[in-house]
Amino acid sequence: MALLEVKGLTKRFGGLTAVDEVDFHVNEGEIVGVIGPNGAGKTTVFNIVTGFYQPDEGEMNFDGGSLIGLKPNQVAKRGIARTFQAIRLFPAMTVLENAMVGQHCRTKAGLGGAIFMGPRTRAEEKKIRESARDALAFFGKRLSPLENELAGSLSYADRRRLEIARAMATEAKLLLLDEPAAGMNPGEKDGLITLIGRLRDEKGYAVVLIEHNMPVVKGVSDRVAALDYGKKIADGTYQEVARNPRVIEAYLGARHEETA
């Protein structure tokens, strides 16, 4: 059974139908690429799935329960974590603290716990710290040595990495990555391809990524879905989608020979 199953998803903003009866699914341990021109509704789909928007129509089932009507924090607790198109870290918190915030939805110490620091709170705080460090350690020597630096002082690529680490720290089953390769140079993009592959193979995450960069999509995706004007126009392996005439017309245009 699919981990995430979306059926007939529709979202209208006034007269504009941003997402129009989109169906898609993500299996466990699968990497799905979502492509489409700017304004095709890719990020809107992410925002609906993560609870920032409520859909006008459609069903969303994740890991055996519906996502309809849930708030973003509840969606996070169910096991979906995301990154943002424009990097959105907590710039004035340290690298470690950023990742520790990711653990928020898995822990529950409240005001009393914070003030009295009883044994349970101490144990929980230790667990938060360890999980956050684990998430940082996934990036080898990139983030761990910087754990006490402020996130805002990181290099661009490290900020992207930290965003992924923070999402991992939520102990999610499904990661939604919104244009993770944006602004990266070719070398960094190659690294990203390896990284996303490792997310699936080592950690067992299912990943959905929105990406404009075709080599990255080709390099990591088990399956690719293409959106245009809010509708899904193609679905299948990268080769199938890239050969689909509607996709070529909508997105790749005349230059498809080069990118395919």
Binding site: P72, A92, H104, S155, L195
Partner: protein, 572 residues
């Protein structure tokens, strides 16, 4: 040269301004160093020195190494302060020939005589120009000597000024300390004629210079040794230092005059308020301008249950009133938080501003006055004994406030480094992302309002007891603004910042009382210069510092990446 002219003109205007509003004449009564220097003259000295100092300050673009100032800086400094001197001199000449008293009532004959140093007005121009230029060059010269000497020198001068200015306080306290130590309570070695004596001045200058000099040359090693210690050792050292501070604060009322103890109590109340609001504004980032409402809730709730003359007709023991008041305040805090959950930043500020006013209006209204006493307030809030401690005794109240401050500071500190504190911080940084990470925005906003309200009401309880009565007029907007200002002044989100901020913002105006009508002018100058020099606050938390200097960091980063080009290692 252009800069020198500009600074010179500014300094000139300033040095004319002070005599014109009457400060010079008034401050001449105040001795800085007995028989040598009055406060009035000190102002001119400082202006001339500062102008030269600023002009000679090395300027550089971000990223560039600052170029050490050459001897030409001396010239520029002299020019700047010379210009200021000429301006002041010309003003004296003008005032001497034309009667300015009709417009500027402070420009008296004695003032002109004073400013022309007993000679003719014409000689004043020469004296001021030459003297200004010399001082300006001296100020610029400060930039030429090495940092390790300059810093102690400037600090020593500042310390001498400060110690002289606080003479009325210290001169009352020091004899007490001396006699407690079994020494002769004679302070003439330090203070004579209302200011420092010559020996005292030299003593202060030398001691501070040597002390600061030792610290700048040795301090780095001490700091490294401290950083090299294990976590546990560092915690012990820090804890020990805090304990010493607490003991010192506990001992203070034994040696202070009652006036000073009184001020200390007021500062304590503001620290409590500041710590409470710091949670709402500094931690959670919710700009609340109606915080005075919780002071009111705390005060009125206490008055209502404690005073025999309140409308209830019955009273509760004080130890029951405290938790009850906290509960009431928390509930009201959450009630106020509820409607404003969707608002952020400026909008939130305006709405909470309204709530603060509503609280006052409700108390004054006909509807509530049978219970809360309307404009007459509630009288007779005499807190009886609590566990055998009589709270009416100011000294006892001081201890209770001190303990509360320590307690609330501890709670704030624990919160700041807990899961709750992180959630608040994340929410302050980016509400949407925090929510995507699982932080319930509604829950944590209400929690912040509730906690802030509970801590604020604590201050209200002591406020009612301290005054012995409560009136609606005590709870006006200015209190909210003051509390917010002390947080910003001390450094948003920083607990030591709140404490220092409260001392500066609440304590300083009280200490400046001897300057009468100029009190608020001086206070204003201090505040404006503090905010210009340290926009992140006196003791900023690390986060806050980062925020205000984010642009600089950003620039550095560009430089970095430009330098490395495409050589950035790949993601792994």
């Amino acid at each position: 040269m252009k800069l020198a002219t500009k600074i010179g003109l500014i300094a000139g205007v300033v040095s004319i301004y002070f005599p014109v509003v009457g400060i010079t004449e008034r401050f001449d009564d105040r001795t800085i160093i007995d028989g040598v220097l009055t406060l009035g003259s000190t102002i001119f000295l400082v202006i001339a020195l500062a102008a030269g100092y600023v002009v000679a300050k090395p300027r550089h673009l971000p990223g560039e190494e600052p170029e050490p100032p050459g001897p030409s800086a001396l010239l520029y400094g002299a020019v700047a302060s010379g210009i200021a001197g000429v301006m002041a001199g010309l003003f004296v000449l003008l005032a001497d020939s034309v009667d300015l008293r009709t417009v500027l009532i402070s420009v008296t004959g004695t003032l002109i005589e004073r400013l022309s140093f007993g000679g003719s007005a014409g000689s004043a121009v020469v004296i001021m120009a030459v003297g200004g230029a010399a001082l300006g060059a001296l100020g610029a010269g400060l930039q030429l000597i090495s940092q390790s000497i300059r810093r102690p020198l400037v600090i020593a001068l500042g310390a001498a000024l400060l110690i002289s200015l606080t003479e009325p306080l210290l001169n009352a306290v020091i004899p007490e300390v001396l006699s407690k130590l079994g020494l002769k309570d004679d302070t003439s070695w330090l203070y004579t004629g209302g200011g420092l004596s010559v020996t005292g001045a030299i003593l202060v200058l030398v001691l501070t210079f040597v002390g600061v000099f030792a610290w700048t040359s040795r301090g780095e090693r001490v700091r490294q040794a401290y950083a090299g210690r294990s976590n546990r050792d560092r915690r012990l050292i820090k804890g020990g230092a805090l304990l010493l501070l607490a003991l010192f604060m506990a001992y203070l009322p034994q040696i202070l005059t009652s006036f000073l103890s009184e001020i200390l109590g007021t500062v304590g109340l503001y620290i409590l308020l500041g710590l409470g609001l710091n949670i709402v504004v500094g931690y959670a980032g919710l700009l609340d301008l109606g915080y005075v409402a919780f002071l009111a809730v705390g005060s009125y709730s206490t008055a209502l249950f404690v005073s025999e003359r309140s409308s209830l007709g019955w009273t509760l023991p004080y130890w029951q009133v405290v938790p009850l008041t906290i509960v009431i305040a928390t509930v009201i805090g959450i009630m106020i938080g509820g409607p404003v959950l969707r608002l952020r930043g400026d909008y939130l500020a305006i709405v909470t501003l309204g709530f603060g006013e509503i609280a006052r209006v409700i108390v004054q209204s006909d509807w509530a006055s049978p219970t809360l006493g309307g404009a007459q307030g509630i009288l007779g809030v005499t807190a009886p004994e609590v566990f055998g401690v009589d709270l009416r005794e100011p000294r006892n109240l001081y201890y209770v406030i001190l303990i509360s401050v320590i307690l609330v500071a501890f709670i704030s500190w624990r919160l700041s480094r807990s899961r709750v504190g992180r959630a608040w911080n994340a929410m302050r940084e980016d509400e949407q992302v925090a929510e995507a990470m699982g932080v319930s925005i509604i829950g944590y906003k209400l929690l912040a309002f509730g906690t802030g309200a509970a801590l604020g009401s604590l201050s209200g309880m002591f406020f009612a007891i301290k005054l012995g009565s409560v009136f609606p007029s005590s709870f006006n907007l200015l209190v909210s603004i003051n509390v917010l200002a002390l947080i910003i002044l001390g450094g948003m989100g920083s607990i030591p910042g709140v404490i220092v901020g409260a001392f500066v913002l609440v304590g300083l105006p009280e200490l400046l009382r001897e300057f009468g009508e100029f009190r608020l002018l001086i206070f204003g100058i201090v505040l404006v210069s503090l905010m210009l020099l340290k926009p992140e606050g006196l003791i900023p938390s690390r986060r806050r510092k980062m925020e205000l200097h984010a642009d600089e960091l950003e620039e550095e980063q560009y430089d970095d990446s430009a330098g490395q080009g495409g050589a950035e290692p790949v993601v792994t």
